[in-house]
């Protein structure tokens, strides 16, 4: 028990989970309205950069978080209109947005702060960890949640909120209707385009929170391409969770522990080039295990569509 499952493991796992979880909630929302979101990686990166810019100029963590949300929402306009009103291919838009985010943040990093690579400044106030005294003493729960940032709690709370909104409210019903049968929703008087654009923008705000957690959560720093594949892991979590926020969250927990384990293995003396790959290997393993059973039942291998993964893209195409 004490060898691997240390309090530190739980703490770092929960910390690793939160940005992925926030991003995958965004992916779930987009998927539910029939917009396949591959841009999570870029949206998170823009959020992280905006968080540092906001934090630097406002000297407050709140300013950083607000800027992160605003920046990510503004960036999400590309997906919101591009994949809906302009009917662009969501895969191409996703790839384009990820590269745009990578280039734009690197460009602005040089222009605004005059540095390349990484930027940190003592003036930037991080989110800080908030300790809850009654929790800290408890094993597991206390280790995991005793000292975490506000956004980490927000990530878990928002998972519940998104679930309730999606499945227990009229708005959620319409939202799912837009994704499942856009024409039917349209005849019921729902403005499909508005629902899609609105949902993608709300999802953008969530990716902004994910970016803020990344940049201001543990240490206040921005590094080029600091989302480092987390957005793609969130995309996989959305796929594994079949657009259900709770299942997606379960997948995120798995990836978070794989990530935390890699930090542990590193402290055991393994080189980080090898330990860093464990979240991706865990993700691949999860894909293999869950898809093996499903595809045997559902369809013969020859019919698997190539460029449009998951059911989200199929709905998207049926809409056209």
């Amino acid at each position: 028990m004490s060898g691997i499952f240390t309090p530190f493991l739980f703490q770092s796992a929960v910390q690793a989970i939160s940005p992925i979880l926030l991003a995958s909630l965004a992916g779930v929302l987009c998927g539910r309205v029939g917009v396949f979101n591959l841009a999570l990686e870029g949206q998170m990166l823009v959020g992280a950069f905006a968080a540092i810019v906001g934090g630097y100029f406002s000297h407050s963590a709140l300013g950083g978080v607000a800027a992160a949300m605003a920046g990510a929402v503004a960036f999400s306009l590309v997906l919101a209109y591009g994949a809906t009103v302009f009917r662009g291919d969501p895969v191409v838009i996703g790839i384009g947005m990820n590269l745009l985010a990578s280039g734009l943040t690197a460009y602005l990093l040089r222009v605004i702060f005059g540095v390349s690579g990484t930027f940190s400044d003592p003036g930037i106030v991080g989110l800080g960890r908030i300790a809850i005294p009654p929790l800290i003493g408890m094993p597991i729960l206390g280790w995991a949640f005793g000292r975490q940032s506000v956004l980490t709690w927000a990530a878990f709370a928002l998972t519940a909120v998104v679930s309730v909104v999606l499945f227990k409210t009229p708005v959620g019903l319409r939202l799912r209707g837009v994704g499942e049968q856009a024409d039917a929703a349209e005849t019921l008087g729902i403005d499909v385009a508005r629902y899609r654009v609105g949902t993608v923008l709300v999802a953008g705000a969530l990716t902004g929170l994910a970016g803020a957690q990344l940049a201001l959560g543990a240490v206040s720093v921005f590094a080029e391409d600091m989302s480092a594949g987390r957005g793609w892991i969130a995309v996989v979590a959305v796929m594994l969770g079949r657009n259900n926020p709770l299942y997606a969250a379960a997948a995120c927990v798995l990836f978070g522990f794989a990530d935390a384990l890699s930090i542990n293995l590193q402290s055991e003396g393994l080189p980080n080039q090898l330990t860093d790959i464990s979240p991706y290997v865990a993700t691949l393993a999860a894909l293999v295990i869950t898809h093996r059973r499903r595809t045997r039942v559902l369809k013969p291998p020859a019919e698997v569509d190539a460029a449009t993964p998951g059911e989200t893209a199929t709905t998207q195409r049926a809409v056209h």
């Binding site: 838009i93 745009l100 090898l274 691949l284 993964p309």
Partner: protein, 344 residues
Amino acid sequence: MNGAPRWTAVALRLRPPPVAIAILFAALTGGALVLVSGHDPLQAYAEIVRGSLSRDSLPDTLNWATPLVGMTLAAALPLRGGMVNLGGDGQLVIGGLIGALLPLVLPGQGALVSIVALGAAALGAGLYAMLAAWGETRHGIPMLISSLLLSYPAVGVTSYLARFPFRDVATGLPQTPMIPEAARLYTLSGPLDAGSLLIAAIAAAAIFVDRRTVVGYELRMRGKNLRFAGYGGVRLDRQAMRTMFASGAIAGVVGAILVLGSQFRFIDDALLSPSYTWSGLMAALLVGGEPAGAILSALFFSALQTGGFAMQRETSVPRVLTLVLQAIVILFLAMRQGVGRRAS
């Protein structure tokens, strides 16, 4: 030979107005970005043109184009069939590492060693890319995701191998030992070496296969309509595996060419930092994977990126601006094509 009408058709296809409009739009948005950051956009663009197309800088552009055209073809091949290979980085480093290690252990000298190394690099990277296609055809794991996820372990493991077991202890840097001079690629003139010729040959072969062979026809059919291709008798799963193998093999050859032709050893991160993979993917997306168009857009992007160095040197506008420009072109085109689709 009905060469003349074909060429005009090609010329028409290569200069469709949407691409020109997209480039203009990107230039304007990028110009605004430069202006806001306190620099002169016209001067910046002038430096890009001068730094890529002038007599002195043209060799640099061609030098940059060799790997970029290669990675563009690696991305274009699956794209032609409606598939996306996002794992180019992993395949590139696998090819590079094989190309750097084999000449160290192989007996014999000269061209034979480099040919074997190139072949092994193609084989290794091709098989690794095929893994993603196998996952999709056998287990239904979307290749779009798996190809990218497979890239991370490949990059991590090659980086580990270059830093620990195969490190050149004499230099203290994260790199493998120098490969013997005899195994290096033959230099033609200036920046051009045998690797450039090899890439040109691959490019010609890609165009030929795409236009003149059954394999190319079937791949295009798959890209236009997957179900129809399957109904028409194309073995879709085999086709996916074959296409991904070819795509990965090209990426592997590019890695080996960079190592054998210019770097002479596997240096950690050196193959990835110019991000040939992503530029290549964008160049291929620009024309929907059509090989001749993809090669042209790869040349355009390499001019843009080579010019970026001159721009950064002369005007202190960060050269990463060129990445922004490329992304805007792709995004604009993606949306614009959507608009056309709705109107028709």
